[in-house]
């Protein structure tokens, strides 16, 4: 299901960046091995850059994966429900998604703002302001919020594709 709207383009673009970061992580690890074993100058920043990449991949890719229906869920109970109850459960699931995404994105924004004001750093080899990462959580959950809302809208008007 390839989307064409602006929102689709945004989350597809975020997923593209996540994919590029994945390849970059591979290259960094290989480069580090080369530097460590052949040049005897290990890249001291490699560990934390890869950690940040792992973190970024999850939040950049999460809305895209939700659009693709790739977040695993358990359908043991809903499989045995009638279509009406299943629709109700879907409504509950999407509403929960909207509420929780709203709460997490809001509190990640507030926490990021606080970290920005107080100058909190992630202190490792390279000191990075923590609010960058918290804003990424905010962005990821904000996009999840919109995606849940879009799926809810489609569900309500009955246009959601039957899985």
């Amino acid at each position: 299901m390839k989307g064409t709207g602006i929102f689709d383009r945004i989350i597809d673009f975020m997923a593209l960046i996540a994919g590029i970061l994945l390849v970059v992580a591979v290259l960094i690890v290989c480069w580090e091995i080369g530097m460590r074993y052949f040049v005897h100058k290990p890249l001291v920043w490699m560990v934390e850059v890869c950690e940040y990449i792992l973190f970024s991949i999850a939040f950049l890719g999460a809305p895209w994966l939700l659009k693709k229906g790739g977040h695993v869920s358990v359908d043991v109970v809903t499989e045995f429900m009638g279509s009406k109850n299943r629709a109700r459960m879907r409504l509950f699931s999407l509403t929960s998604g909207i509420l929780v995404s709203a709460i997490v994105s809001w509190f990640s924004f507030v926490t990021a703002l606080e970290c920005y004001r107080t100058g909190v750093l992630v202190i490792k080899t390279i000191n990075v302001p923590k609010h960058y990462f918290l804003l990424l959580i905010c962005l990821g959950y904000l996009c999840l919020l919109f995606e849940f809302a879009r799926q809810l809208f489609r569900h309500l008007i009955g246009k959601e594709k039957k899985k």
Partner: protein
């Protein structure tokens, strides 16, 4: 409120949300938000949740997960492994159930190169099942044999072993290596079962005369299409075992070697890279988003005293330590029938791991038992993920019941293997004991 009341409420809400069909990562986050809001003082607590989400996946030990998956996806999408399977086919000769045996040996070989079991299952099912059907193989044996792709979860490199090691705080390198012998042992058990069943019931897999292949061609194909994969095994498993590289470094080298190998076969192109990265991203994001809830969930269980309380209760029972282990594994088997692997670990480990350490069992041995258990969970009716993968690639007319019936003997073999390793831990622990680090 007593700890057990907290435990019932927390786990009850979580299971309800799962049953309602919420994505697993969302179910965890809902429990985290509710638990933290009511237990840790509202908004201030929720700010702690955000810090907890940040620290949960920004950890270096998880880096091999996407890399091990990427290796398998590259081999799968480039089609290079199909030639290796073709070569194995040439070497099989006239043996009963040869296509089933080809499937198990192909799965074992691919498991030494890939960290993803679903990809292996899909590949074997789509390649071999139509051929098996054409040769008159009964579905009761053919489908189960193709699902031996789930061995990738045990045999290194295993992406799930990395997550397990990170969550249980045990040596990832040793855990990976501990899966080697048990993985081969289970593959040997599958082969024995297939051979015996085909000998006793020849009609289940009718013998046929395969196309005669000259020895020169067989040897040529072996050197060109199979042996080069040994370089990946050496780079990944060999380097970890020799203590020359960390799991992350060997995973990075593994991806590089896989890429070079595929380029040598002239199969590397933009489409292969795009498809492989896309598939890897799906698995990685799915796993990592579930993990974002892990730290907070464990913290809530610890804060309410539920983890400690449950451990104290279990220890106070007059059960032998081995019986406690069996009960824990049985619980994971039950959870595995309807839950996803990472979630099972996240729910059970905050309680199980302190118990394992309190009972003075080797956490590596326990971790490996859990891995075998997870493999069983992937193939257990009614909701194992590999079952649905198989349904997706199986020839038309294959029902879920056909798949359930076919996989049942293989699940029994897995359970038997788990019991063997439970009572003979050296099968799992001998190789890690030889490791320098």
């Amino acid at each position: 409120m007593e700890w057990w009341a907290f435990l019932i409420v927390i786990v009850g809400i979580f299971l309800f949300l799962l049953a309602a069909g919420l994505p697993v990562f969302l179910a965890f986050t809902v429990v985290d938000v509710l638990g933290i809001y009511f237990l840790w003082g509202g908004g201030a607590g929720l700010q702690q949740l955000i810090h907890s989400i940040f620290s949960s996946i920004s950890t270096f030990v998880l880096l091999p997960v996407p890399l091990f998956v990427l290796m398998g996806e590259l081999l799968f999408h480039s089609g290079t492994f199909i030639r290796a399977l073709d070569t194995l086919d040439k070497w099989m000769g006239r043996i009963p159930g040869r296509l089933c045996l080809l499937s198990v040996s192909g799965a074992t070989l691919f498991s030494t190169l890939s960290g993803s079991s679903m990809g292996t299952t899909a590949m074997l099912g789509s390649l071999l099942l139509p051929e098996m059907e054409k040769r008159g193989y009964h579905k009761r044996i053919s489908i189960g044999a193709c699902m031996s792709g789930s061995l990738a979860m045990i045999i290194p490199p295993s992406a799930l072993a990395v997550v397990l090691g990170a969550l249980a705080e045990i040596s990832i390198g040793k855990l990976l290596i501990s899966g080697l012998l048990p993985g081969f042992m289970i593959a040997a058990m599958y082969i024995t079962y297939i051979t015996l069943r085909c000998a006793l019931q020849p009609g289940i897999a009718p013998a046929y005369i395969p196309e005669k292949v000259p020895w020169s061609e067989k040897i040529n194909a072996l050197f060109i299409h199979v042996l080069p994969f040994g370089s990946i095994v050496i780079v990944v498993t060999g380097l970890i075992f020799a203590g020359l590289a960390t799991p992350t470094e060997s995973a990075g080298m593994g991806v590089l070697t896989t890429g070079i190998l595929i380029a040598c076969y002239k199969k590397m192109n933009w489409v292969v890279i795009k498809k492989s990265v896309d598939a890897t991203l799906r698995i990685t994001v799915m796993m990592f988003m579930i993990l974002t809830g892990s730290t907070a969930f464990s913290q809530i269980l610890a804060f309410t005293g539920a983890s400690r309380g449950l451990v104290e209760v279990v220890v106070s029972f007059d059960l032998t330590p081995m019986l406690i282990i069996i009960v824990m594994q049985a619980l994971i088997v039950v959870l595995g029938t309807f839950m996803e692997q990472v979630s099972i670990m996240m729910i059970t480990f905050p309680i199980f791991m302190p118990l394992v350490r309190a009972l003075e069992f080797d956490p590596i041995w326990f971790g490996l038992l859990v891995l075998i258990n997870m493999q069983i969970g992937m193939t257990t009716p009614p909701f194992g993920l590999c079952l649905f993968v198989m349904k997706g690639v199986a020839p038309n007319g294959t029902t879920m019941m056909d798949i359930y019936k076919s996989i049942a003997p293989f699940i029994l073999i897995d359970l038997f293997a788990m019991l063997v390793i439970m009572f003979l831990p050296s099968i799992a622990l001998w190789l890690p004991s030889l490791m320098r680090y």
